[in-house]
Symmetry: C2
Subunit: 192 residues, 2 copies
């Protein structure tokens, strides 16, 4: 089974170059994006929601126009291994998730998913073989409609934090969140 | 001025293919990553923090091994147009930010950054010309040490949400955050 225009092996190389290594979650994520597209209209502008920050966002970024930086991919980290591609205007789309109820036939995937073995004891070759053989058989999909409250995204402009002398969203008024202690750096030396 | 191994024009094409269009923030972000690397040791494993979710994360993902899915890039959205690359063990690194105090010589960049004109009235050609000419001259850098509390990242394993029958982090105990209403889908039909 191909993953969009890639063979399984080509996709593994793509994942390696972007993600650093052929992580099982990104590989399975490829089949998830493929399955979502199979059920979406051929034409349309689709945004993405990813329900985990682990691995899966990179499959979305590699295979769809949606990235974390362009704002078309939103990560709502509720910890489900699930993604949704949906029409950005209507909210109608497809949610695909790795279905634990379908994992019994694939013991190495199940063991990986539930972290039943230390990573070092994982049989990576068998795991990849099972992932390739399983393809979409470990996934489930739903037609969904994303709540309208999620469709309109406001990206704030910039103002100057009087303390840091850097830009920050104007809504955060006086000083920026950095100066309010939301992030901890110990600054040492200005270098340019 | 090159951006790592890319010419300015090559980098623009790279950004177009990943981000969808040559967004000024991702282009400037390229110079920011380049500047950070100039001040980092040649050897080392560097994680990234990005202080905005707008555009800049994609420059990091394109030019460093750090992605949102592999966990080496962390977005702490405090709204500063700033990134930090730091040694993942010691926390020592370089923070680079677009410095508003250096923007007066570059009116089109300044106007873009503060959103002083509607996007349609922006002179994109002039903006790109200024970005290319300015290079690192609109940036400032600091040697920093990232607080140790940020260095150790725990990625939770998976358990089964009894309601949704999907996996979720075990720490979230009974039902998953989805079932607790943290994300709103209206489910319509199971399709596979």
């Amino acid at each position: 089974m191909n993953i969009l225009s890639y063979t399984f092996e080509e996709y593994i190389e793509l994942v390696r170059s972007f993600h650093g290594y052929p992580a099982p979650g990104v590989i399975i994520g490829g089949f998830m994006v493929e399955l979502a597209y199979q059920h979406l209209p051929k034409e349309g502008l689709f945004d993405a929601i990813c329900e985990t920050e682990k691995c899966l966002p990179d499959a979305i970024q590699l295979l769809t126009p949606c990235t974390i930086g362009n704002g078309w991919l939103r990560i709502m980290n509720i910890g489900c291994f699930a993604l949704t591609l949906y029409d950005k205007h209507s909210g109608k789309g497809i949610r695909v998730f790795l279905d634990p109820l379908k994992l019994d036939a694939w013991p190495e995937i199940k063991s990986w998913f539930y972290q039943q073995k230390p990573r070092g004891e994982q049989d990576n070759q068998l795991l990849m073989k099972e992932i390739k053989q399983a393809g979409a058989n470990i996934l489930s999909a739903r037609q969904v409609k994303v709540d309208s409250s999620l469709l309109n995204k406001h990206r704030a402009g910039s103002a100057l934090c009087p303390l840091l002398k850097e830009a920050q969203p104007p809504a955060d008024n006086k000083t920026c969140l950095g100066c309010q202690g939301k992030i901890s750096y110990i600054e040492e030396t200005s270098i340019s």
